[in-house]
């Protein structure tokens, strides 16, 4: 089988490339970094922080000190220490009054922090200064001054503590019956939302952002693999055309073997790469699970993996054929880039529609575009990953896109035959028709 020789050559030529080996190893590493680093940063990568608390109301600070001594969560996870600073003698109280008086006029833009506190923060003796005014009960305001105020977890923690202490104080001050206090506290307590995604395999914890991020992420992989391998084929065809190897190839075997052998060979290389990625991902996530968010694990089901491979194969053939037609019809790389641009747009459009998919996965526009063969591999995959449509729709999209691919392959082989042996000038319509008849 001569086609086997072509498949094997194309496959080896890609797999032996340094760039292939590097991309195969590096991509999962980047993928892991993409998923893990933000998580690690928020959880593991925290610095120890010391926050001074001064409390002119005298009601809040005790809770902070107590928690600093007892709470493991505070010490080990958040790595926060609160220290109470008795500050009746300092001028901060006066400055605070001044600030509160001027606040409305100046929009509260500049806070009046006592110089000694400012100095402590700038010299990094402490990380922050929490000031609780005497007016806390009436005005419900606290002041937190630090160099870094974007530490979301710290801010949230301070808020929660103050809120709890304050509400129980207000309740106790105004209501004598502890039972009622309990009821009201219950009634106003925070609600923790638990979000679950409904799938055939089960209903599992997830978050909407995970699903969105992951599907965009997988779409990006699909896009870059389809683009990357498409371009590889295109450049390979131009190379063979320019150095006339194609004349020897055509005179040794038929065009179909050359055309399909090339696409299959490079496709197998792509499948190898994707396969290695999936295997590495599976080992990393399944075996060690590495403290990844459970919602990510729940998102990456085996079923989704199968769909990924299926749509990769269909999409690959479709775009590989388009790219190889371009490669066969042009003479230089520059010319090729120009003609390949519309194909790139075809791959980018699904990203735009993708946003719609996450919000309203069942609008007629989304359904129609995901059934359009050229968009199916990316858009239908995205729909499946975000909110699986009816199986009949999935099946229809697969049938349509496969049928389209077969048609494209038939047409592609014909155009390829004419294009690849035309040097210099573009083949005329007459020439093309002559060739299709001649065979």
């Amino acid at each position: 089988m001569k086609i086997a020789a072509i498949i094997s050559r194309e496959y080896k030529q890609i797999v032996k490339k340094k760039s292939f080996i590097i991309a195969t190893i590096l991509t999962p590493a980047l993928m892991a970094a993409f998923i893990f680093v933000p998580m690690l940063l928020t959880k593991v990568g925290r610095e120890e922080k010391v926050i001074n608390v001064t409390d002119y109301s005298g009601v809040i600070h005790k809770e902070f000190i107590e928690r600093s001594e007892k709470s493991k969560y505070l010490k080990e996870k958040l790595k926060l220490t609160f220290r109470y600073v008795e500050d009746n003698s300092s001028d901060q109280r006066a400055l605070l009054k001044e600030y509160e008086a001027e606040e409305k006029k100046t929009d509260g833009f500049e806070f009046k922090l006592a110089p000694k506190f400012k100095k402590m923060i700038l010299e990094k003796k402490i990380d922050g200064m929490l000031i609780i005014p005497a007016s806390i009960v009436e005005k419900r305001q606290i002041y937190y001054c630090a160099q870094n105020i974007s530490d979301f977890e710290t801010n949230k923690y301070i808020n929660t503590v103050v809120h709890r202490v304050l509400s129980s104080k207000i309740l106790r001050d105004n209501i004598d019956d502890p039972e009622i206090v309990g009821i009201v506290q219950n009634a106003t307590a925070d609600i923790k939302p638990n979000l679950f995604v409904v799938k055939e395999e089960g209903t599992t914890k997830s978050s909407s952002t995970t699903a969105y991020m992951m599907s965009i992420f997988m779409l990006t992989i699909l896009f870059s693999v389809l683009m990357g391998y498409g371009q590889l084929i295109m450049r390979g065809v131009i190379e063979e055309k320019n150095n006339r190897i194609v004349e020897v190839l055509i005179s040794s075997t038929n065009t179909q073997s050359l055309f399909y052998g090339k696409i299959i060979g490079i496709g197998l290389a792509g499948l190898t790469q994707v396969g290695i990625w999936m295997l590495m991902g599976w080992i990393l996530m399944g075996k060690f699970s590495l403290g990844i968010d459970r919602s990510v694990l729940n998102f990456l089901t085996p079923q989704l993996g199968i769909y990924f491979v299926l749509f990769f194969i269909i999409g690959y053939f479709m775009y590989a054929i388009l790219f190889s037609i371009v490669g066969a019809s042009v003479n230089t790389d520059q010319e090729a880039q120009q003609y390949a641009a519309p194909i790139t747009y075809l791959l980018i459009i699904p990203f735009m529609i993708g946003i719609m998919v996450t919000q309203n996965p069942n609008t007629p526009l989304v359904i129609a575009t995901s059934l359009f063969p050229l968009f199916t591999p990316t858009l239908m995959f995205m729909r499946i990953s975000v909110a699986p449509p009816a199986f009949s729709q999935i099946l229809l999209s697969i049938i349509l896109s496969m049928g389209f691919t077969v048609f494209l392959a038939w047409l592609g082989a014909k155009i390829f035959r004419v294009g690849i042996l035309m040097y210099g000038k573009k083949p005329s319509m007459k020439e093309i028709i002559k060739w299709i008849r001649y065979r």
């Binding site: 050559r9 030529q13 190379e239 006339r244 004349e247 005179s251 040794s252």
Partner: protein, 302 residues
Amino acid sequence: MDNFMLKLNNLVKDFDGKKAVDNFSLNLEKGKILGLLGPNGAGKTTTIRMIMNIIAPDSGEIEILGEKFNEKLKDKIGYLPEERGLYRKMKVSETLRFFGKLKGMNNADIFERSESLLKKFDLYDYKDKKIEELSKGMAQKLQIITTILHSPDLLILDEPFSGLDPVNIELVKDLILEMNRNGITIIFSTHLMEYAEKIVDSVVMINGGKKVLDGALKDIKGDYGKKFIKVNYEGDPSFVESLKYVLNVKDYGKEMEIELEDIGKRDILIKDLVSKISINSFVVTEPSLNNIFIRKVKEEGR
């Protein structure tokens, strides 16, 4: 079945209204070497591409071994295109294996043939090198090896000598002769007629897409008879052209070829020459293909 390897019948190929090949016919017997000669742009490569089924003729027929071009024939033909190229990133040994497989050979045959051909062409030490590491001449030799690897019955070489140094030209010439001795029919095109002369059985000359001459080399040369004189000289020979018994002069600077209207005039020529220039050698010879071609083209033009 008759004894013909290749028959071309009234081939016509038109490029944008310009006739690249015009009513070209050819019969080639098995076991012969045919030189397809002509200047650049004469239609040699277009003819070869049509034989190889790379481009379709506008009209006319091509038969190889009595058959129209088909897949089975491909394994019996070795083809060296005019412009050379191999996969730059592939190793020499991988290249040979790939092209061997494409010609339907099995691994053992490929190995055996590659080893002996690489040794013969002095490329054995390079077999694990990538093509991009080879010199241009070495890559050329390798490409010739890929062409003959499968021991074809018909070998079609488009300008096989171009880009080779004299040593390798000799090597390729010897190889063509050796292949031919083993019964392989060979067509090669060249515009370098002095190389062709030494190896071909028969010659087809083509100019402007039209055949101007076709025949066995000895017949062609015989037709012109021994009317040619080769003179190695010192001095200014411009007067020779105006001698009335001289038909043609080709002056190379130190040597000239003179065509006489009759070989009997050679004694007068010697006298005329020695009176004006000094002569190192004076040889009566057959016409070179070059001379014949130039004469033919002139005749056609008339």
